[in-house]
Amino acid sequence: MNPDKPVMARLGLLARLAVGGLFVYAGLMKTLAPAEEFGYAIEGYKVLNSQLSLYAAYVLPWLELWSGLMLCAGIFTRLNALFAGALLVLFEGLLGQALLRGLPVTSCGCFGSSGGNSLAREFFQNLFFLALAWLAYKKGSYGSADRYVEGL
């Protein structure tokens, strides 16, 4: 850790854990539920057809879970923070177009059947997490496995 900027390093760690934790939770809630449930939620955004929505529902939760766990542990931190940020941008795109088109999406599908916030709230919440992903990308190496393995 850079001794003159310990606060930023700790904030980076917190940001990494927050984004990682969010992804682990979202991934777990969806991998522990039938993929069709999430597939149906994706279908509601009217971007992919039902078959492609289902394929996305099979893959996406696992990616969220693995990426979240690696982000928490600090393995390939920058790469995973970048990936998490890219996913958040993708989600923002989906939420934004649904808001603009006024689609009747009742559940965002973000956390499986455990429910989720309204689209607008989810949109702004994701902006916050996007900022945290950026912080994790820039300053997330404190207490990471990356650092530990480098020191071996």
């Binding site: 991998t31 522990l32 539920a33 069709e36 149906y40 879970l65 693995w66 542990a73 496995a145 071996l152």
Partner: protein, 213 residues
């Protein structure tokens, strides 16, 4: 060339991916997943009951008909202590009309008569279960209960109805259900009414306590 550091990190990443995948698959198999609620019309008993049973059932399955009687008895005896939710798991490879029956039962449920329609389906399963064409009994039962058959037909073709059935089936597959009736009694698996009663005995104290409230 891959540096030693990156190789170590990649090994750690693979370890995390492997162990988390195994953990999730085991959690699914051992039913450690969050409960997906059944619709209100398929749920009987108080919401705060200390014992909760989810039954995966198939209206054309004789063992399910037998179990339905046991469930009725349990609901009567432990009325305050037990909540039962039905989920559909039609065994389509051997029961060609089970999916239709499940859809009609849900549609009867939307008109407030799920249980009554389910009883008629179980009682008459030998008549409609092996039918060559769409069994007329589905309509007969609806009319017997005074249900709006036109509404039921429209409802049975509604994508929302089929989606709800599909979710039940997928959830059952995910939990490793491969026979009906399969019960989850406060999360503990039981297959068939024999195991159901065995498991219910283990929860006897809770059931009695709940029933006496």
């Amino acid at each position: 060339m891959i540096s030693r550091t990156n190789a170590r990190l990649a090994a750690l990443a693979l370890l995390i991916i492997f162990s988390s995948t195994v953990a999730v698959l085991l959690a699914r198999q051992f039913n450690l997943t969050p409960d997906r609620p059944a619709p209100a019309f398929r749920t009987f008993g108080p919401a705060d009951a200390p014992v909760r049973i989810y039954e995966y059932t198939d209206f054309a399955c004789p063992a399910c008909r037998h179990a339905a009687g046991k469930i009725d008895e349990l609901l009567k005896v432990y009325s305050g202590g037990l909540q039962v939710s039905f989920k559909h798991y039609p065994l389509l490879s051997i029961h060609p009309w089970s999916l239709h029956a499940a859809a009609y039962a849900d549609c009867a449920g939307r008109q407030g008569r799920f249980m009554e329609y389910a009883h008629l389906l179980f009682e008459g399963q030998s008549e409609w279960g092996e039918a060559k064409a769409l069994p007329r009994q589905f309509e007969d039962y609806a009319k017997k209960l005074g249900l709006d058959w036109d509404k039921m037909q429209a409802c049975s073709e509604d994508p929302e109805t089929l989606h709800a059935l599909q979710l039940d089936i997928s959830e059952a597959d995910m939990k490793g259900v491969d026979a009906t009736p399969t019960f989850f009694i406060n999360g503990k698996r039981a297959v068939g009414s024999g195991q159901l009663l065995d498991q219910a005995q283990k929860f006897d104290a809770l059931l009695r306590k709940g029933a006496s409230r």
